[in-house]
């Protein structure tokens, strides 16, 4: 598909029908979108308020984006940002830790894999709510949908943490049965995984601390299926996860306390799209060539971003007329661009 047809923009409450459709289409536990109309509308209103308030951020903000396909004439994907993980409380994760037990006399030295309940990711900015319709997975659209968020964070850094994290769903079957949950969480919650998900939503509820042990979990004591599930990705998340890997996120340190899925984390400045991004004013002169780039507006109220050939002519950015129109950008407006690399 021609990358010209896609526009990423800030979501508004008018996008509710599209969000309802997407929340219903995405499998259990795969998205952080609630499948409930009132809850979705609340999110959209919170997101709109976050985009529109010029005040200093409190950390409670969420930002939601939609991806439009101009040819199909509809919204085909969503993504989001939560400014501060576990806002005003704690954000729980398991940290992979190795302890070495050694006895020289017995000639034994063992590395034991443990999972330590931690709050390390509290306050990190979270990438959330990624969903794209399956027929678009092979296009460059997912790159725009995922990575434009990073340009927005980089542009408005004071509203976000300099540490970015993202949760990905772990292994679970269609009924929501999850080997990691069955071996770990179920012991402490005494309920099925979907039920626990429903109760806790975000991973910051006080009863997580009340129910989960503070001592590390010795991984060798878990059943094999649960050991294998630690850090394993649900197959539906392969595409968004691979985009994060390409960005340079670290996948080794944290896993979700419920399903064992990987939680990636990174310093914002080290991410490829951020490190490689440039800010430049839009030239009055049209361009008609150059490498494919992510091109995003720098306004705080309402991000718009497209995929387009672009090149820097000195301090001026040249774009094709069509891209300028889609962005709604006038000559002289400051834009942020990042090369798409080999991803298209």
């Amino acid at each position: 598909m021609d990358p010209d047809r896609f526009l990423l923009r800030a979501a508004t409450p008018e996008d509710l029908p599209a969000f309802e459709r997407i929340a219903a289409a995405s499998a259990h536990g795969i998205t952080t979108l609630p499948a409930d109309r009132a809850a979705l509308l609340d999110r959209l209103q919170r997101s709109q308020a976050a985009f529109n308030t010029p005040d200093d951020a409190s950390g409670e903000e969420i930002y939601l984006f939609v991806l439009e396909d101009a040819v199909a004439g509809r919204i085909v994907g969503t993504s989001g940002i939560a400014a501060s993980a576990g806002f005003a409380d704690r954000f729980y994760a398991y940290r992979n830790e190795m302890v070495v037990h050694a006895s020289a006399a017995l000639g034994a030295s063992n590395r034991i894999h443990t999972l330590q309940l931690c709050h390390d990711l509290t306050g990190h900015t979270l990438l959330t709510s990624f969903y794209i319709e399956p027929e678009y997975e092979g296009t460059a659209a997912p790159q725009l949908l995922s990575r434009a968020r990073l340009l927005y964070i980089a542009q408005h850094a004071a509203r976000f943490s300099d540490r970015i994290a993202a949760e990905s769903p772990g292994l679970a079957d269609d009924q929501g049965r999850c080997p990691f949950w069955d071996a770990v969480g179920r012991r402490f919650f005494g309920m099925d995984y979907p039920e626990a998900e429903r109760l806790t939503g975000a991973r910051n509820k006080a009863f997580i601390a009340e129910l989960m042990p503070q001592a590390p979990i010795y991984v060798p004591l878990l059943p094999e299926a649960a050991q294998w599930a630690i850090g394993q990705l649900h197959p539906v998340a392969e595409l968004p996860f691979s985009i994060l890997l390409d960005e340079g996120f670290d996948t080794e340190t944290y896993v979700d306390i419920f399903d064992g899925g990987p939680i990636v984390d990174a310093r914002l400045a080290m991410l490829r799209s951020v490190a490689g991004s440039r800010v430049a004013a839009l030239s009055a002169t049209d361009g008609d060539g150059g490498e494919l780039h992510l091109v995003a507006t720098t306004r705080q109220a309402g991000l718009r971003a497209v995929l387009s050939p672009a090149w820097l002519d000195g301090a001026q950015l040249r774009l094709p007329a069509a891209a300028r129109t889609r962005l709604g950008a006038a000559a002289g407006e400051v834009l942020r661009i990042a090369p798409l690399g080999g991803q298209a």
Partner: protein, 208 residues
Amino acid sequence: MNDERFFASADGSASLRLRRAIGLAQPRWWYHLGQAVHAAPALGILHRQATLQLGNDLTGAGELAELRWDREQPAARQCAVLAELLEAALAAARAAPEGNGRLIVELPGMRDADGRSPFWDGLGRHFYAGDPAEALRQHGPGWRELVAALLPRHRVYTSFLPAAAQAAIGAVDPAQQPWCEVLRAAGARPADQVNIDDGGPVWVIDLR
């Protein structure tokens, strides 16, 4: 005073050692069998879990150890010999009680027909691939410290162990039946500690 005294029955068919104040020269290790309660009032949840915590709880107690007896004799005879032995050892212990006035006995735990311990298979084996019995042969009484260095230092929830291992926690090898009877008659009772190798219980006798 010697740290150890050796006792033998009059007919020579049984013997044991009385040790004073164990664990002071070389640390001794047991798992403490405890509980963790996790409650979330908002959810109406209260869960009790049994836990194992490696520690040195019984340091300083006296100990009856290295018991040997002839198991070919009739059961009644075995009990009589063991009672004679225990009485002599207890008399000596009471004559010069240790600081905390307690005497412990580690009882062998459950084994399967091949001599394998389901408790060790379910827990210790994941931390030390070797055989504790072999460690005892090679290193003598200090084996526990060597093996304990490899065992989990943090609290272990027993529900993480296989059912057979959980069942073996605090369970006594049935072959110890005569000795258990004699100990019970002398007022011994199970402590909250179990052996680090086979999960067998520690029994304690209050000397005061």
